[in-house]
Amino acid sequence: MQNIPKIVRAKLQRLTAESHPDADLLTAFAEQSLAGRERDHVVEHLARCGDCREVVSLALPPELELQPLKKTGANWFRWPVLRWAAVAAGVALIASIVTMQYRRQRPTELASNVMQAKPAITTPAQSSQPASQVTVPRTEVWKETMAAPRRQAVAVEPKPAPSVGTIFHGSANSPNRTGGPSAGAPNAFGRAIGGPIRGLNVAPSRSLAFAPASENPASAATAEKNPGPAQAHQAVAVAGASQMVEVQAETAPVTTHPVAQSQAQEQFVQTEPADQAPVPADQSEAVGKAKPALAQGAPSGMAPAPLLHPGPNPMKILAAPRWTISASGALQRSLDGGKTWLDVDVRADGSMSAKAARDDAPLSTKKQSTPSVTTVFRAVSVSSNAIEVWAGGSGGALYHTVDAGNHWARVVPSAVGVALAADIISIQFSDPRNGTVTTSNAEVWTTADDGQTWHKQR
């Protein structure tokens, strides 16, 4: 931002104010309950009085921070009994992510799903209470995916089984967006996963049996349809406990791209036959290779390579994202404190439009049917940490993100069979749950549960 002349600064500092407004007035002001002359008077005072500004700022109602990965670790991982559960959780995690992604395509369910999925999914990222929380809600998913990804489950083995690394790595690459979780006790988790997984290793014959024998990844690669990824997988497989955990951590973020995820799954299936035991390789190299390799291999006919694309790694985003609406009505986001702004495409589920290189996949069936008309945004409401954002515009377009714009959900407020379809001109969220949306035809819609249900006031 531009600076102001020093003399202006000096003048501002010299401003003095007498008769501070009483606590009631300051409170009413902070709660937007003042109007007219009374409010002007308080604002005038605040323009002069730094103390009162400080008071108002301190007294603002708390904003619920969206911290998906904040749960602190527990130590029960050390219990062997629970390791098994942890493993199950890991597999369920993968499976549930896939399933959830498909579900995510339906916008109406989005809000609730994301919210539920988020806490459910993110917990496994922490080596704390994964199993119980993840497996319980996802048991049905677990069962249904049990059969197929059996091998994938097996793949979870850290040292011996190659695919372990691959699975996680695969999924890690896809959800390369949301903020990385703090891997609590990575090693513990890693080891934990490794152990019990062997138990799962019943049927899946050839491939992912934990054959410690090392085989040539090259041969595996050649036999592979997509040599790149296969090799990468193999290489990655080497990932030991810590490595896998690192990958694991990347997997945790809820918002994984659906196709990329399923793709990762598919690739595993593809690499099945060719899968061999891990080859000792430099772990960091492995991951390094795997990443770009997967990126290449990913779009075998499917889209979401954007996620594999070296886009802004959510873990590296340090500044709080900033939001604005451009003069032409495009929603824009800056991740570097306002220096550069990128248009955010809310319809490309999961990808940054700026780099949507491969976002032209025939995913129309999966994606919500978006109109060819681009939304002209007119209102945006940003939470205090700029992670949760509501954006609204023409034609009743209302979009909601809880991960700083990496994924958007289209929300269609409806009540008693009537939906909001007019142009949205204003969105106001006094706290993460309570919000008001106003349209150009003077409709006022309110929600008290962060957009899951709405009430039309007028």
């Binding site: 020093k6 202006v8 500092q13 009631d24 409170t27 730094g50 108002v56 939001w323 700029a386």
Partner: protein, 313 residues
């Protein structure tokens, strides 16, 4: 309750008319507040905030904006009704400590703050044998929870500002020039036309703009924070700051030129000013509050507070 202006007829009438309605919402009976006392409280509050000429209809509208239930609870507590106090504790005690923690950001300070406010709310201080509770001053303009936060914040600002000031003065004696620099005072060489033009430019700004400027540039508050304070979108503040920074410069230049300065002369005068900003880094650092950590902010803030009054002398 509060000895103030005489209660106007309009207020009395409005209160009387609304009393039944308001009394029903207030839950007075549960907390032991008598109806007449309640009516008197309403009259006091209306009188406090409304000018005498206010019409009855306006008084009525005003009364309807009050947080009736919370007002009744607070005043009942202040009056010493135990049931009221119990209800208050259940609802607000935890919030009090949580808010204090959010404000003070540090455990022991927060507890200190909360405890002292708690005592004031309960009314341990007695004057003429009567227990004076801070809750007696609550008027229901804002929520009780918000009011508690505000009062906590006020106490917090007062406290550390007071102590800090002492420290600053002591440090000033040792450090000499650094703190003694009368930053707010314009440089002796500042052109009087520059000064007057700046004054005019600032005065022409609506108070909200000036508030945004002060909050952003003097205190280094984030755009998000400022937006929340004013109840607008962050993007609005972002645009505002950008616009202001640019237009201010233009206005000042125009003002100077109108007073007879040539454009180049005016620009130079402003440039010198700006250049000084870079040259005298030390001074700048002492005054400006860049987005800083909490602790740094703590130290930076009182400096400005201290300097401002001094500059007046």
């Amino acid at each position: 309750m509060r000895a103030g202006r005489p209660i106007s007829a309009q207020v009395q009438s409005a209160v009387a008319n609304l009393l039944a309605e308001l009394h029903a919402i207030s839950g007075c009976e549960k907390i032991g507040l008598a109806r007449e006392s309640f009516a008197a409280i309403l009259c006091d509050v209306a009188t406090k905030y409304l000018p005498t000429e206010t019409t009855e209809a306006e008084v009525r509208t005003f009364l309807l904006t009050l947080r009736i239930e919370e007002l009744a609870l607070a005043r009942a507590c202040a009056a010493g009704h135990n049931s009221a106090w119990e209800a208050f504790l259940i609802r607000y005690r935890e919030k009090l400590y949580q808010s204090a923690l959010r404000i003070a950001r540090e455990d022991s300070t927060a507890r200190d703050l909360a405890d002292s406010l708690y005592a004031e709310l309960y009314g341990t201080t007695t004057r003429d044998g009567e227990r004076i509770s801070k809750l007696a001053s609550f008027t229901g303009r804002g929520s009780l929870e918000g009011w508690l936060r505000t009062v906590l914040a006020q106490e917090f600002v007062n406290r550390y500002r007071r102590t800090k000031r002492l420290v600053s003065l002591d440090e000033e004696n040792e450090d000499g020039a650094q703190f003694a620099a009368p930053a707010p005072e314009p440089l002796p060489s500042a052109d009087s036309r520059l000064e007057s033009s700046t004054d005019a430019a600032l005065a022409s700004l609506p108070s909200e703009d000036r508030m945004v400027l002060a909050a952003y540039y003097l205190e280094g508050r984030t755009l998000a924070e400022i937006a929340r304070m004013l109840g607008v979108h962050e993007s609005t503040i972002s645009r505002k700051v950008d616009k202001l920074a640019k237009s201010l410069r233009k206005k000042i230049l125009t003002g100077m030129m109108q007073q007879g300065m040539a454009r180049r002369q005016a620009e130079e005068a402003l440039e010198v000013d700006v250049r000084d900003l870079q040259v005298d880094i030390r001074r700048s650092l002492a005054q400006e509050s860049p987005p800083a950590t909490f602790l740094e902010k703590k130290e930076a803030l009182p400096l400005q507070q201290k300097v401002a009054p001094r500059a007046k002398s």
